[in-house]
C-alpha cells in the first residue's frame, strides 16, 4: 500500500538539545495510529513539524508524495489538524470561524461547511459566539475545521479532552468511519491510553525524540493465560516442572501456553490437589505495554524468569 505520510530522518535541534533525533514514521490510508510518548518525548514538536509550524533541522515530511520543504501549500492542503487545544477566535461565532478557515483552503464550498457542522453535531449552537462554548463544543468545532478540506491525513492532538462519554464514543465511531470509508489516515496523540487502545489500529511510541516501537494494538505476541490457584507455590512448582514458563501476576500466575493445552494443564493441577479458582485468557493492557516500551516497566518484567 502506498503510504500517505512519511517522516524521513526527521530531526530537530533547539539550541544544543536534540529534541527529535532521526525519526522515521510511515502512515497508511485507512489506518488510525496512536502517537504515544512520555511528557517531553517530542510528540508536540513532531506534530508541529508535520503541520508546518516548525521547520525540521534536517529531514523531511512527505504528505501524499509532496515534500513540505519544497511543496508546502500542496502538501498541507491534504491535511487537517488540531494542534493541542483548538483555539478559535472567541469574539466570532463558530460559523464565522469555519468560514474564516474555509477561505484559506481551495474549493471549500458553503455546502461543505454545513455538511461538516452536521457531522460534528453543532447545528444548534453554530451561530453563537465561541466564547460561550464549553470545552467539548470547542473540540467539536476544532474537529470541524480540521475536516473542512476533506483531508487525506488527519492529525489530532488530545482530541477527546473535554468530551463527555457519549461524545467520545460518537467521536470514535466517526473516526473509524472516515478511516474505513474514505481511507483517511489518522494520527492521534493522547495520554489516555485506554482511549487510544479502543480507537487505534496501531501505536507508535517515541521517547527522547526517537521512535521506540511501533506495533499493532491487537497483535497477539504470545498467548498467555492467567491462573488463580491455591497453594500458589505448589502450583508454580508443578508448572515449571512441566516446562511451562510461569510469571507471577497479581494473586496468581501467568502461563505461556496454547489454548489447546489448557485442559491438560488444568487436569494435571487438579490431580495434584491444587484448587483452581480462575482460568482466563490474558492480554497485556496498553498501559503495561507502554510502560514496558518506555522503560517504566522494569518492575513488571523483573520476575519474568
Amino acid at each position: 500500500m502506498k503510504p500517505i505520510v512519511e517522516l524521513k530522518n526527521l530531526s530537530k535541534t533547539i539550541g544544543k538539545k536534540k529534541i527529535i533525533d532521526q525519526l522515521n514514521l510511515t502512515l497508511y490510508p485507512g489506518q488510525i495510529t496512536g502517537f504515544l510518548g512520555p511528557n517531553g518525548a517530542g510528540k508536540t514538536t513532531t506534530i508541529r513539524m508535520m503541520v508546518g509550524l516548525m521547520k525540521p533541522t534536517t529531514g523531511d515530511v512527505i504528505i501524499d508524495g509532496l515534500s513540505l520543504q519544497s511543496n508546502f501549500e500542496a502538501g498541507i492542503s491534504k491535511m487537517g489538524a488540531i494542534v493541542e487545544n483548538p483555539e478559535m477566535y472567541k469574539f466570532m461565532s463558530g460559523y464565522k470561524n469555519l468560514v474564516h478557515f474555509a477561505r484559506m483552503h481551495k474549493n471549500v464550498t458553503k455546502e461543505r461547511i454545513d455538511e461538516v457542522i452536521r457531522q460534528v453535531g453543532m447545528e444548534k449552537r453554530i451561530h453563537e459566539k465561541v466564547s460561550t462554548y464549553s470545552l467539548g463544543m470547542r473540540q467539536r468545532l476544532g474537529l470541524a475545521q480540521a475536516l473542512l478540506n476533506k483531508p487525506k491525513f488527519l492529525i489530532l492532538d488530545e482530541p477527546t479532552n473535554g468530551l463527555d462519554p457519549a461524545g467520545i464514543r460518537e467521536f470514535r465511531t466517526y473516526l473509524r468511519k472516515i478511516a474505513e470509508e474514505d481511507g483517511v489516515s489518522v494520527l492521534v496523540s493522547s495520554h489516555l491510553l485506554s482511549e487510544i487502545e479502543l480507537m487505534c489500529d496501531r501505536i507508535a511510541v517515541i521517547q527522547n525524540g526517537k521512535l521506540v516501537a511501533i506495533r499493532e494494538v491487537n497483535e497477539t505476541e504470545e498467548s498467555q493465560y492467567y491462573i488463580e490457584a491455591q497453594p500458589v507455590d505448589k502450583a508454580r512448582h508443578i508448572l515449571i516442572e512441566k516446562g511451562i514458563s510461569v510469571e507471577d501476576y497479581q494473586n496468581g500466575l501467568l502461563i505461556s501456553v496454547e489454548q489447546a493445552d489448557i485442559p491438560t494443564v488444568v487436569e494435571q493441577l487438579v490431580q495434584q490437589n491444587i484448587l483452581i479458582y480462575t482460568v482466563s485468557h490474558h492480554r497485556k493492557t496498553l498501559e503495561e505495554q507502554f510502560l514496558e516500551m518506555t522503560g517504566g516497566g522494569q518492575i513488571v518484567e523483573s520476575n519474568s524468569k
Binding site: R48, V51, G52, L53, M54, K55, F72, E73, A74, G75, I76, S77, M79, A81, V83, E84, N85, P86, E87, M88, Y89, K90, F91, M92, K96, V99, H100, F101, R103, M104, H105, K106, Q145, N149
Partner: protein
Amino acid sequence: MLNLIRNEWMKLWHKKATWVMVALLIAMIIGLVAITKWIDRNTETPAWEQTVSEELTIVKQQLATPGIDEETKKSLEEQQMLLQYRLDEGIAPLASNSLEGFIMDSYGMSSIITLLTVIVAAGIVASEFSQGTIKMLLARPVQRWKILTSKFLTVVAFALFLTVVAYVVSLVMGLIFYEASGGGLLEVVNGQVTEVSYWLKSIWLNVLALGDVIIIASFAFAIGTVFRSSSLAIGIAIFLMFTGSQFAFFLKNYEIVKYILFSHTFTQMETGGSFIEGMSTPFSVAVLVAYFIFFLAISYWTFTKRDVTA
C-alpha cells in the same frame, strides 16, 4: 490573497474595540468643532485686507535685512508675491473658521488616526499569538508571507478607512457649522501666482497624512510581529510618536538628525514645517521609504522564519 484580506477585515470588525475607535474618531471631530465654535463666539476677526498688508510689511522688512541666505530669500519673495497678489486682486485668504479653512485643516486629525492605526497594527499579528490562534492560522495551505501581507494590507485599509471617515465627517460638520468664506488658495507655480483648488489640496494633504500614518503603523506592525506583544508595540510606537520629534530637535545640530525617522514627514514637505535645514523633498522621501522597507523586512523575516511554539 483577497480571501485572506477579507478574513482579516472580518476579524477586525468583530472586535468591539474597532467600533469604539471609529466612534471615538467621530466624537473627536465633533468635539473639536464644538470647542472652536465656543472659543470663537465672541472674537471679532479684523478685515483680511488689514492682516494681509501687515504681513506684507513684515515680509518686506525681513527681505531688507542684510546677509540672508538664498533659500530664505527665495521663499520670502514668493510670500511677498502672494500677499501682493491678494491685495491687488482682492482674494481673501482661507480663514480657519470658514468652511474651506475647516476642510483644509481636516488632515490635522491624522495624529488621532495614527494612534488608532498603531493600536490595530500592533495587535494584528501579536493577538494571534496571545490567543493561540496562530497555530490554526499557519497550519493551512497558505504560505506565511501571504498571511503577513494580508495583515499589513488590512492595516493600510483600516488607516485609509479612518482617513476617509475623518474627511467625510469634517466635510459634513463644516457644511453644518461653517459658511464659505469666498477666499482662495494661492500658490506660486513657475514664477506665476495661480489659484489652486482647496478641494484638491485638502485631499492631497490627507493622502500625505495617510502616508505618515502608514510609516508609523509599519513601525508598530514590526514591533508587534517581532516581540509578539501588542502592548509593547503600542507603548513604544506611541511613545516615539510623541517624543520622536523632540528627540530629533535635540539633535538638530548634528548630521545624524537627517537620518532619524522622526525628522521627516510627508505632510511637512507640503506645508514646509521642518526645522532642519538643507533637507530636500527627495531626500526626505528616500529616508521615509528606507525606514518603511526596513520595518517590513524585519517583520517578514521573523514571521516567515520563526518556529511557532505558542
